[in-house]
Symmetry: C2
Subunit: 207 residues, 2 copies
């Protein structure tokens, strides 16, 4: 979300909300108690990440991040959804639980089998990203789209947790290198999880 | 999805796909192996329920099911997302597992505590639906929107699994009665789960 706001050159203030506190004022903005919520200067509030993204695209159309024309837009939305659900479930969630959460929470030993499964899935996904990046500069088209931002954001989490084997996927590597060097990614690359430092290559644009 | 297609008076052929078969031809249409997938007559295929809905709205705008104008559309998308995630998780999923799946699969006794929790959540959600239906004819506006279709589709599952205590929620009841009497709901109300007949009131429009 902050990548989208940044790519559209929109200024915003990020406010931390702990949904589990279920504050009454927050539930008035988000009846399901879900984050994120976008609050406009006039007080208009929208919960639901998808509703927020579509609203930003409708009210601040430049640069377009969903591409132009119904079929191109359908491809971008489907691809962004793929990374948000399938890549997240197969790769990010598994590796975050095994390599970070268990260590931070002291909730047991990492499951080596699960970690291997996560990296095997990552390998399949890198093949797919490499294939897409062979067709055009971005994953969905030559222009930057929400699909690039979504995929790169999820990949940056995996990258934070350890080395990614880029050798077999040169086009994917070149694409991710371009994404990392975008100004919108700077704050994200500067993020650190307390108690879990990133590998040395993490913020390196020439990894 | 079929409600949206029906409300827009679009003809379609539903094809059953078992995603767990992971057919190569299907994975070519949906790289994540997810259903639903929309296939146009010219072969253009879109996976991802959200991408499909937005594509249908962009290419077949009448009647509009996302409302008109960015703020109204944001409300509709957020409300539809709320029912798809929060209502589904709190109510539908719990009751389907406890009241249907366990019986159909013979996988243990229903958990009375979970069922009570599901019905308590339903009660809260009915209050919210009643509140929304007091403001306008539909849940998001006076016109029918995706929010009405999404909410009514999920409610119809709960209704199938047993009685809903409508007494305290007259506006919600009137709204749901209007939804049930729409022609688009007829095929849905005629659906039966083998081995699990619906209660007698299920397809009754004057429940």
């Amino acid at each position: 979300m902050r990548l989208v706001l940044s790519e559209k050159d929109l200024s915003f203030t990020a406010v931390v909300e702990k949904p589990w506190d279920r504050r009454t004022e927050f539930l008035a903005l988000s009846p399901g108690g879900e984050v994120p919520v976008l609050v406009e200067e006039d007080g208009f509030a929208i919960p639901d990440a998808n509703a927020i993204l579509e609203y930003i695209e409708e009210t601040r159309p430049n640069p377009p991040l969903l591409s132009t024309g119904p079929t191109a837009r359908a491809k971008v939305r489907a691809l962004a959804g793929f990374f948000d659900r399938v890549f997240f479930r197969d790769v990010v969630e598994t590796l975050v639980v095994e390599k970070a959460l268990k260590r931070l929470q002291g909730s047991g030993e990492p499951d080596g089998f699960a970690i291997r499964r996560g990296y095997q899935a990552l390998e399949e996904h890198l093949k797919y990203i490499n294939y897409l990046a062979e067709q055009h500069k971005g994953l969905a088209s030559d222009a930057l789209t929400l699909a690039d931002l979504t995929a790169a954001a999820h990949l940056s989490v995996v990258d934070y947790l350890g080395d990614i084997a880029w050798d077999k996927h040169p086009e994917a590597r070149a694409w991710y290198s371009r994404m990392k060097s975008r100004p919108s990614f700077r704050p994200l690359l500067a993020d650190h999880i307390p108690g879990l430092p990133p590998p040395v290559h993490y913020a390196n644009l020439d990894f």
